[in-house]
Symmetry: C2
Amino acid sequence: MRYLLYYWPEIQGRGEFIRLALEDAGASYVDVARGHGGMAAMEKFLGREGQRRPPFASPFLKAGARVIAQTPNILYFLGPRLRLAPRAEADRLWVHQLQLTIADWLVEVHDVHHPIGSGLYYEEQKREARRRAADFLRNRLPKYLNYFEGILAAHRGDWLLGRKACYGDLSLFQMVAGLRYAFPRAMAQLACPRLAALHDEVAARPRLARYLASKRRIPFNRQGIFRHYPALDRVLK
Amino acid sequence: MRYLLYYWPEIQGRGEFIRLALEDAGASYVDVARGHGGMAAMEKFLGREGQRRPPFASPFLKAGARVIAQTPNILYFLGPRLRLAPRAEADRLWVHQLQLTIADWLVEVHDVHHPIGSGLYYEEQKREARRRAADFLRNRLPKYLNYFEGILAAHRGDWLLGRKACYGDLSLFQMVAGLRYAFPRAMAQLACPRLAALHDEVAARPRLARYLASKRRIPFNRQGIFRHYPALDRVLK
């Protein structure tokens, strides 16, 4: 199966969680919007009237005749197919539950720099962003980090499920990498040794190491979800 | 199977999306935190160290020995069991995709009155809430309403899937009801005839009609996700 991934070509964003899974599995895929005419193809798809099962937004994945949207839903679909999730229903829903919590966390990361509206520039909501950043770094970020540290501590092995990596582990790598980019000062103060070790293990997986060193890995930047604005990276008290 | 639902007892909140499915199906369930000692049971569960598969937050559902969290994940699990979702994978993931979009929408509704932090009172973020409300009502709310209107228009029949109701339809009822409570002026200006008809059809389903008239249906209030603050219910331009 050759997958077609549709996502904005200039940011990691939500698409990156899917790219990491496809790359780690060595899957055959096309990052459509990064190719010639790809953006037009994606926008046409999103704007088409009368579709029976339209995506609300990108990313979406074409797998044969199927079109699947919503990042955790795409990963739920891909997981067993890429051998990055167990097949038993209870285990599969558990990994999905974790991915949904990561998705909630990601929304909060985004809303730090966009607390008023995603259609406005950061510069139009800087004051509000400072307040939201303080709340996020003090209350929410430690809560998420501690939650995942606790799960990693409750199992033997390095991964969320214990001995075998799943797509949720790849997503946690991305959260740690992104948070370190966006909030280097705050992250340096927060202890998350198991997540830090997981980050390094994911980055060292052979296919991902090649991917991360390649041009396919879009650098973090100020158009993406993880953004570094020094004014928002407060030292915690 | 007798289900145990754990959720805050004084609000509809996210738990209501699960209550509606259980009630519509006539399922046997206990709304644990609304019973004697139930809040303590829920909080103990959320705070317990060393759990192998802990929920990050409520709602969560106990089904036999299993504990399942994240509202869309719980509904994905319950769907076929309550005959509120098809069994074929492609259809089941499509309904789930819609539910995830509803979940995103719900976060935006919440953040209208809490743009800075969920741990702060509304009164501490009123000014920011006014700005966010204006953006939400002008840009985001019409986008979500039009998306679901378009899906309903693309099928014959009254429901998201056409001829048979699924849990996503019950969730759309809840969105329309909540938005009308929170933003009566704005909602009166936005045309969404198919969603309005769907709302009425859901409310007339016999088991739900009895539920909605009962004391089990917690009234909308200013502790929940849908809140009516006249200052935030702007007339659109």
